[in-house]
């Protein structure tokens, strides 16, 4: 038993393959960054639909949120990679295939846009309406009110919640190895097949993910808290 633990915690093998594993980790970051950007943009769009004054528009926003928030990451990744290109291909009458990286970004971007939409919506609706009227009374167009009055406050208010969602999204990037995006998990399984020593490799991957997420979220939370206190003291 203690032999297995020592094997699991032995960093030598992980270190030996550091170059290829680091390249894999870089893919986690790429997928994370692109999917986060897509999720934020789509999420904001869906949130704006959800607070629109016309009911059918609100319904469209709700539909987006409910579909993607309730789709499991894994199912979504597989569906976007294998089914969506078929559907689109039928529509345009051409054979279509997505590169795995693109599928991963679309799938995770969509799923997390559902979560971000709800966070944005709650943030937008928490802004007292009087502040919006004050903007209108100054002759500010709605677009300016959104960018200058609503969103800066929404971003501050949603940060703690958004950090949690970013963490979940980063964790979710580990499943993209399923459709052969060469991320850290993918590389670990490749090396494992070669070396037949899963214990140190998978443990190393787990510790690496833990360290990155722990460090990044602590930093962001501390920074966000200081930022909020500056204004709302």
């Amino acid at each position: 038993m203690s032999g297995a633990l020592a094997e699991a915690l032995n960093p030598a093998l992980f270190w030996e393959y550091r170059e290829i594993l680091l390249k894999g980790l870089a893919f986690n970051f790429y997928v994370f960054a692109c999917a986060a950007a897509a999720a934020l943009a789509l999420g904001l769009g869906a949130a704006l639909l959800r607070v629109n004054r016309w009911r059918p528009v609100r319904w469209a926003g709700t539909l987006h949120v409910e579909i993607f928030r309730n789709a499991p990451d894994y199912v979504m990744v597989v569906w976007v990679h294998f089914v969506l290109p078929l559907l689109l291909g039928l529509a345009i009458g051409q054979r279509l295939e997505f590169p795995p990286f693109l599928s991963a970004v679309i799938a995770l971007g969509l799923v997390y846009s559902g979560y971000f939409a709800e966070t944005f919506r709650a943030g937008i609706q928490s802004i007292p309406f009087g502040q919006i009227e004050a903007g209108r009374a100054c002759g500010m167009p709605e677009r300016l009110i959104l960018w200058r009055i609503i969103l800066p406050q929404v971003v501050r208010r949603m940060l703690p919640e958004a950090v949690n969602q970013f963490v979940s999204l980063f964790k979710a990037t580990t499943i993209v190895s399923l459709i052969a995006v060469p991320d850290l998990m993918y590389q670990v399984s490749m090396v494992t097949q070669q070396e037949m020593r899963p214990l140190p490799l998978y443990t190393g991957a787990a510790l690496t993910y833990f360290a990155i997420i722990f460090l990044a979220s602590s930093l962001v939370r501390a920074g966000a808290e200081r930022w909020r206190q500056k204004v709302y003291a």
Binding site: P128, A134, A137, C138, M140, V231
Partner: protein
């Protein structure tokens, strides 16, 4: 040109669903005049004020700002077309509005609040806008608070920032919607003092207020609203001194005891 009133309200009606709040209100505000609107809660004062800058759309009737209709424009062939929102926004710049709840933007400093609209709406350069904003803050005696955030100010100070913010658009008229109603009595005076200064400087103002002494002292004209109609109007000495309508007398007796 100078005979055109700064603000002209013509037969304005406003209903919220089945509830008729304004039932045909007309009055003029000459340039440089101060008009106070008094009346019980629910008499339609605030709704009327909000109709003037289109925060509420009147159900019927029209508002003219310097002779220009707020809610429609006349097409080449003489037809009345509803104004697009961009044009309404342009006309709104000429009306500074001060709210009961201040409605400052908490994520911006005091200076940021005042600079925002001149810079982004009127397109002034950063330096020009800041200069203008500081001048407005000086008028409300808050130059020393320019770098503070609103949350650090008292209610009276916040309301004075809101006044400076409205002044910074260099409006043709100022609209005050119960500007002192959510303030403690000791903070009310500092806001009224600023409003008094504005009136003395010849600012055109419409003031919805429950401060009868202030209304009596500062106004050129007083309107008493009841049930969505102007029940009584006239110079303050008449409305306060010798009200003709029984309702107005009853209303005032509650305040002037």
């Amino acid at each position: 040109m100078s005979s055109i009133p700064a603000i002209s309200v013509v037969d304005v009606h406003k209903s919220f669903g089945p509830l008729a709040v304004l039932k045909g209100v007309s009055f003029d505000v000459p340039r440089g005049a101060v008009v106070s609107m008094i009346g019980a809660s629910g008499s339609g004062k605030s709704t009327l004020l909000r109709c003037i800058n289109h925060l509420e759309t009147p159900s019927a009737g029209e508002i003219y700002i310097d002779g220009e209709p707020m809610h429609f424009r006349v097409a080449g062939d003489g037809r009345r077309l509803p104004r697009p929102i961009a044009e309404i926004n342009r006309l709104r710049r000429d009306l500074g509005m001060v709210f009961q709840q201040f409605n400052l933007w908490p994520h911006m400093t005091v200076l940021g609040n005042v600079v925002e609209a001149p810079r982004r709406v009127r397109g002034l350069k950063r330096g020009e806008a800041a200069e203008l904003a500081l001048e407005c803050l000086r008028r409300v005696h808050l130059l020393d608070k320019a770098e503070e955030y609103p949350a650090r100010l008292s209610g009276g100070q916040q309301q004075r920032v809101a006044i400076a913010r409205a002044l910074a658009m260099q409006p043709k008229a100022m609209l005050f919607d119960e500007a002192t109603s959510s303030l403690d009595p000791e903070l009310t005076d500092e806001v009224l003092a600023v409003m008094r200064d504005l009136a003395r400087d010849g600012t055109t103002m419409i003031v919805v207020t429950h401060e009868m002494r202030f209304a009596r002292e500062v106004s050129d004209r007083v309107l008493f609203l009841h049930n969505g109609l102007i029940e009584e109007e006239g110079p303050p000495e008449e409305v306060f001194g010798a009200p003709r309508s029984e309702r107005c007398r009853q209303f005032l007796s509650k305040y002037l005891q």
